[in-house]
């Protein structure tokens, strides 16, 4: 039952995003503009561009996660659909897992496009360990989507709504962004020493966010 509920939430959220194109129409133009602006500001020094690229890539992913999770809960708040979820006799943890999984899929898609822009504009190399790079992307995005999906609910239920989400997310997600940036930088430039530590940190934060979200989500949803 729980798995079926999570699957239904994923399908519903992805269908909603495909039809509304809200993330694509706001997040991608922002990411592209930000990367272009930094590209011009940093100048033609290819080495400098390549060194700053990992941080810019993860900053774009961070912005995308905040915007995406905010919009996801805006859809739930419209017509009080969130109350529909509250009043359904389902495991609320399964609802959270569905929301987080849908955010994960969308963020991975956005990261792929953004990474393409970074590779072309900044000359970011894929490096000698593409599998580890992929693992870094998966773990980093998992951290952003698990935390964003939990705090997005808090934000939509607060009086300040949109303003609340970045205030809640940014301090908590900083370790994920730092670890993902360091791991990406190391892997793309061949400096793989210490990568295991950063990936371990990502796994620890992902697990903590996921467990906290699964346990707390139902309580946050209640009156």
């Amino acid at each position: 039952m729980s798995l079926r509920v999570a699957q239904a939430i994923v399908a519903k959220d992805l269908r909603t995003e495909v039809r509304s194109r809200s993330a694509v129409s706001t997040v991608l133009p922002f990411a592209a503009t930000m990367l272009l602006a930094f590209g011009f500001a940093l100048g033609p020094d290819r080495l400098l561009l390549a060194r700053t690229a990992p941080a810019l890539l993860w900053l774009a992913a961070l912005f995308a996660s905040v915007e995406l999770c905010h919009r996801s809960y805006q859809h739930e708040a419209a017509n009080d659909a969130l109350e529909g979820l509250l009043l359904s006799p389902v495991d609320k943890g399964a609802v959270y897992l569905g929301k987080a999984a849908a955010a994960f899929v969308q963020l991975i898609a956005l990261l792929v496009v953004t990474a393409g822009i970074v590779i072309v504009l900044f000359g970011l190399p894929v490096g000698p360990a593409p599998v580890l790079l992929l693992l870094t992307a998966v773990l980093g995005i998992a951290g952003l989507s698990t935390l964003g999906s939990l705090l997005g609910l808090l934000a939509v239920r607060s009086r300040t709504r949109q303003a609340a989400l970045p205030v809640l997310v940014l301090p908590l997600v900083s370790p994920v962004i730092i670890a993902a940036t360091k791991a990406t930088a190391g892997l793309t430039h061949g400096a793989t020493a210490g990568i295991g530590g950063w990936l371990g940190l990502l796994v620890a934060f992902d697990a903590a966010f996921l467990a906290a979200g699964y346990i707390v989500f139902g309580h946050l949803l209640e009156d």
Partner: protein
């Protein structure tokens, strides 16, 4: 109401405060299983808050009670599985079609998705099953929410201003829901300042200022 009927709703001195103000104050109320009750009162009298308390959408600040034999505070999941609250906020997803909205509800309530088609037909929305709910009028959305309720057959139906924004045809759907509920032994509470057809109502309960003032009996 006979004394042999088991109470579907039993509230004891329930109070709900919002920012220190009582929306519902010291309400004690008993509704028998299978009864159809018209909860009447002016806007702001506390009808909606009372329905939301019974549906467990909100918690009482003070007091307690039971719904369908389950405790209002500790057995919410059991109450939710057997109750449906229909309000002006239809809880639909605008980017999903009518059929998709119902199928999503089927997933949440562990129902067969094939129930969606007949339910849409019953509320007259079968021809727009593949149209997104976001393009529907308020009346059509209300009908779609009614279709969701028809699929579930809950033991307790809570209708908040069900006639608002509905045309004559759609009002018939609400009345049919009341008739079906009566025939099936379902309990219904209709909160409305507009009178439902008298023959469909067993009892009136009037609210004013957050209090129940006249739990009168309707003549049989």
């Amino acid at each position: 109401m006979t004394t042999t009927q088991r109470a579907a709703v039993r509230l004891s001195r329930v109070t709900r405060l919002f920012d220190g103000l009582a929306a519902v104050s010291q309400v004690s109320l008993e509704i028998a299983g299978g009864e159809t009750v018209w909860l009447r009162g002016w806007n702001g009298s506390g009808k909606t808050t009372l329905l939301r308390l019974i549906a467990t959408a909100i918690s009482p600040t003070f007091g307690g009670g039971s719904v369908l034999g389950f405790d209002l505070q500790t057995e919410r999941s059991a109450i939710r599985a057997r109750t449906d609250l229909l309000s002006h906020e239809t809880r639909l997803y605008g980017d999903l079609t009518a059929a998709e909205n119902l199928r999503f509800a089927c997933s949440l309530y562990d129902l067969d998705a094939r129930l969606a088609g007949p339910a849409l037909e019953r509320v007259g929305l079968d021809e727009v099953a593949a149209v997104r709910a976001g393009s529907f009028s308020q009346g059509m959305r209300q009908r779609l929410a009614l279709a969701r309720c028809l699929m579930r057959v809950p033991a307790l139906i809570l209708l908040d201003e069900p006639y608002a924004a509905l045309d004559v045809d759609a009002r018939v759907v609400v009345d049919e829901l009341l008739i079906t509920a009566q025939a099936g032994g379902q309990t219904v509470v209709v909160a409305s300042h507009e009178a439902p057809p008298g023959h469909l109502i067993d009892r009136e309960v009037t609210m004013d200022g957050g209090r129940v003032i006249t739990p009168t009996m309707v003549a049989p």
